[in-house]
């Protein structure tokens, strides 16, 4: 199940917020950073590879 851009960006914001928190441990920070970097890349991929798909609902 691929995530939507919205979900990815929401998670990325959460990662940044935790990373900004001084109470977060160093180990956790490194993991958060790695996760954040992946999220950024996934978001960029979604944006650059997105293509317009058009479909039409049938009328009644």
């Amino acid at each position: 199940m691929t995530k939507t851009y919205e979900e990815l960006v929401t998670e990325l914001r959460d990662v940044v917020r935790q990373l900004e928190d001084d109470r977060t441990g160093l180990d956790e920070c490194i993991q958060l950073y790695e996760r954040g970097a992946i999220l950024v890349r996934l978001c960029e991929e979604l944006l650059t590879t997105a293509e317009m798909k058009i479909c039409e609902l049938g009328r009644d």
């Binding site: 940044v16 954040g36 950024v40 978001c43 944006l47 997105a50 317009m52 609902l57």
Partner: protein, 429 residues
Amino acid sequence: MDRAQRSLFSEEWGSDPEPDEPGPAAPRRHVLEVGELAAIIDDLLLDERLIECFVRGEVTNFRRHASGHCYFSLSEERDGENAVIPCVIWRRDAQRLRHGLEDGQTVIAFGSVAHYAAGGRYQFYVREAEQAGIGEKFIQVERWRCDLGAEGCFQEFRKKDLPRYPARIGVVTSPTGAVLHDIVNVLTRRFPVELVLSPTAVQGDGAELEIAAAIRRIDGRVDVIIVARGGGAFEDLYAFNHPEVVRAVVACTTPIVSAVGHEVDVTLCDLAADLRAPTPSAAAELVAPDRAVLLEELRQARRHLADLLHDRWERADDEVRELRDRLRPGRLAFRIDRRREELAELDGRLARGRDRALERRRSELSGLAAVVRARSPFAPLARGYALVERNGSLVRAAGVLEQGALVTARFGRGRARLRVEEVCDDEDV
């Protein structure tokens, strides 16, 4: 002379009115200034029936002044009776008219009646005017606006926020025509997503039913809906004012952006939608974020992440360095030395305390000894006196002795055995 025919300005004028003839037509004695009279007329015309009302009539005597203001009359002939009202339409309102006015047209005009004191006439000040057939539709739309407004269809508080990153965008519009094309173009450029078209006729008989059905059909299947139609005359956009469409928009659970006609056209569908866009292209821009902006934001996010991690690492490094400093052996030795010093100092204080206590007792003792010495029965002996004893008893008077008696004398230091040579009993010391 009949009183009614008498000139008001005959000599009776100004004299006391006859008390038995006060009738309603009796002239008042107060003379109004023209301005006062005009003010009364102004006041009388402040009647809500004359303010912001619609009037149907035939345009006559239309003339456009060089200033841009237009003057004409609206007239009606019925049963051989002619009624005319002079009209003014100011330049700004005249410019906004969708159709130019000309003599012979039957129009419906919207405006207010007011008194033009400087010209001594009342006029109908027209703000809007439409040809009668279209005018009826305008009035119908106004009625719908009131009714639907009363139903709460245009209330801001029930308007929904648009999703920030829609993955599926629904479009309710004509499957042919430039509108869909424009929307696809904008979305392709900004943020390509899945677009779902819910096709419908956008004008003509029954279009309102089709539009409403198209909205209901797509509701819930997409993240956001654009209801759009290109520019057109008021009659062309009419279906988007219809309560069928407005109620479908209000009932829709998916956020709706409405873009009907050009920016100057505001339909009831626009008012009911969660957001109004001036054009279909603008609606597409409002709905989809710009991918270039998002990519830049992602680049910034990546930099921010790296900065945050680096800062955190530096803080950890500082912490370790500080702890290492605090653990240095030198620091420990220093602490031991300090303890030692403390100990030595305490030791010194202990010794000093002990010495002081001894000294105090010593001086106390020598004081006591001096007192004891001063009180000693032998003390005077040191000053040269002597005690005389005989058989262990003190001799206090010479009379108890006889010549040749043996006595002992005690001196300040030592004693001696003495033999009495002579006794003189009669002398006091």
